[in-house]
């Protein structure tokens, strides 16, 4: 829509200004890592953070959420649809792609009212990544190093100022009445072009093949022995899925109070990597081994989502790789499948099955 310049010196005032109107959340430091949290004072905000432990998804799909409350005596049920006008500051482009996928998932079929309520009242301020956030990220390979069009505002660090792309009316509203912001000069345009040109070579392609080949590669891998090898070392701890910006599986439970009259139905993030996840009524577990569960995760990330929603299920943020205590990573997994494929092993294993 438009492009503006905000001097960095004005950022604290802007954050304070936003805080008077919205709940403002953004990356903050915690014990050597970073987490998205409510910004109590502008100096807590760290916009040049590497990555966060959990993705900002938690504001759209909270870790635990009450879906409705009920009263068994009066036979009343009350939907619990909560929202708070929220600005999320500093969303990296990979996470923006993930939110795009989540938007699609939660608007397809039965739309998820709870997600929608959070989402409609959330304004996303994304930020351009100018160098790789950590050793495990592979956004360039996944095509997520540029921001998708869903941003409300998009920031680019220009040294002593931020370039501010306005992407929507919601974004524009964050600037309305804030005066320490101006139209770019030709010098500013030169600067942003330079920053954007310089950033690209700092990132490397970490997949040994083009990502468009990934779904076919996975289709061939159904019977690969690699899944058993991963299953042998995987702990089934679920961390990889808990930290993933595109995971959205949850578990639903009812709890009542001691008087057995009032209660609530809640949902909590679940994980396809834990043992009981695929256990159905009667006790049958249709993904009873860690090998099957690993295969399922990587199929979802590299193939199933694309087929169902037209968007790839992994945005290359690298969080799962960083969290995994036994070093199972999407990059190594996909590259190893590719290597075996080149040697003809995948076809061989497919035939044997």
């Amino acid at each position: 829509m438009s492009f503006k310049i905000m001097p960095k010196a004005a950022l604290p005032d802007w954050v304070t200004w936003l805080k008077n109107r919205y709940r403002v959340v953004g990356p903050t430091a915690r014990q050597g890592q970073y987490v998205f949290a409510e910004i109590a004072s502008p100096d807590e905000l760290v916009l040049d953070y590497p990555t966060s432990v959990l993705p900002p998804k938690k504001y759209l799909l909270p870790q635990r959420e009450t879906l409705f409350t009920f009263d068994a005596q009066s036979m009343q049920m009350k939907a619990n649809i909560e929202w708070e006008p929220t600005v999320i500051l500093g969303v990296h482009t990979c996470d923006m792609h993930a939110i795009r996928l989540l938007d699609k998932v939660h608007a397809t079929g039965y739309t998820d009212q709870h997600y929608q309520a959070h989402r409609q009242h959330t304004t996303l301020v994304s930020i351009e990544c100018l160098s790789p956030c950590m050793e495990h990220s592979f956004c360039k390979s996944m095509g997520t190093l540029t921001v998708p069009e869903d941003y409300d505002l998009h920031l680019t660090d220009l040294g002593d100022s931020y370039g501010v792309d306005v992407g929507s009316e919601k974004g524009e509203a964050l600037l309305q009445g804030f005066t320490a912001i101006w139209d770019p000069t030709s010098e500013d345009y030169q600067r942003i072009n330079k920053v954007m040109a310089e950033k690209w070579p700092r990132f490397s392609y970490r997949l040994n093949f083009d990502v468009t080949e990934l779904p076919d590669l996975l289709a061939l891998s159904n019977n690969s022995s690699l899944w058993n090898e991963l299953g042998d070392i995987c702990l089934g701890c679920g961390q990889c899925t808990k930290v993933c910006p595109t995971c959205y599986c949850f578990d639903v439970r009812d709890e009542v109070d001691l008087s057995l009259t009032k209660g609530e139905r809640t949902r909590t993030w679940d994980s396809c990597q834990i043992d009981r996840f695929a256990t159905v009524a009667g006790g049958h577990n249709f993904r009873s081994t860690r090998a099957l569960r690993n295969r399922h995760r990587f199929m979802r990330k590299g193939k199933y989502h694309l087929e169902a929603y037209g968007l790839i299920g992994c945005v290359g943020c690298g969080r799962c790789a960083a969290a995994c205590l036994v070093h199972i990573t999407p990059v190594d997994t996909f590259n190893e499948l590719y290597r075996r494929h080149k040697k003809g092993e995948l076809l061989e294993e497919a035939k044997q099955a």
Partner: protein, 251 residues
């Protein structure tokens, strides 16, 4: 409600910390006393009613003479609940189960070893049928209240079988492995709200193992983080001796 279920508490080899947690939860949730009638609870009341439907048993069974007492409880109670790590797993008491019993007795009781009756501490379920477990050392008070609520609803207390890492990550804790510590979270049953990692310590496994834990991979992780084989054995024996010995036996 007139027909409040009658509840009794019993202790075997334990520190009574779990029963203290029950007393604590009564302070937070006095309405518990409207929901059940406690007929036996040495920690809090002096009466001793023998007419109970639900028995909460704290402690491991650590000597043959405990067995008839447990059987008597089983005969009376419609529902038997193991309360805490000792009753659930054999608890800390079971550390000695990898050592020769006679040596342990002599080490502890010296020349009076023969005066004291003892055998390998075991979970209550090894002696009598147990209907439900409330794990932990000590138990988690919210979980206790939840378990009682489930019993009042006429169902068995339900604790989701999932590893501690799941809860720990929900809270967005910074993994203690990145802070130079080791943690049994990946193989330990969640439900304590990951309290130890939340305060910066590794999990010691007091809630017992999840289903189908990958012990070998867990050992490998601890090894990679600098623990010797002996230190790993020690980590895995604090609360998990009996469970891991059973896994070894099963192969």
């Amino acid at each position: 409600m007139s027909a409040k279920p009658k509840v009794a508490f019993f202790e075997f080899t334990s520190c009574e910390g779990c029963q203290l947690t029950v007393v604590d939860s009564l302070q937070d949730h006095p309405e518990l006393l409207d929901a059940v009638e406690i007929v036996q609870f040495r920690e809090a009341i002096s009466e001793k009613g023998e007419d109970y439907a639900i028995a909460f048993i704290e402690g491991s069974c650590s000597r043959p003479s405990d067995e008839p007492k447990l059987q008597a409880i089983r005969q009376q109670a419609a529902i038997v609940v193991a309360l805490g790590a000792c009753a659930h797993l054999g608890g800390i008491n079971a550390i000695r189960n990898r050592m020769p019993l006679q040596e342990v007795r002599e080490y502890v009781y010296g020349d009076r070893a023969e005066w004291f009756e003892t055998y390998e501490p075991r979970p209550i379920k090894d002696v009598i049928k147990v209907d439900a477990v409330i794990p932990g050392c000590p138990i988690d008070r919210r979980e206790f209240i939840k378990a009682v609520t489930h019993l009042l609803q006429g169902r068995m207390p339900f604790i989701p079988d999932q590893p501690l890492c799941m809860e720990c990550k929900l809270k967005e804790n910074i993994c203690v492995y990145t802070r130079g510590k080791v943690c049994l979270g990946p193989i330990t049953l969640a439900g304590c709200d990951a309290i130890c990692p939340t305060y910066g310590d590794g999990c010691e496994g007091c809630r017992g193992l999840i289903a189908n834990p990958n012990i070998e991979a867990m050992r490998q992780v601890m090894h990679e983080h600098g623990l010797t084989d002996e230190a790993i054995d020690a980590k895995l024996s604090m609360f998990l001796t009996n469970q891991i010995m059973a896994l070894e036996e099963a192969g």
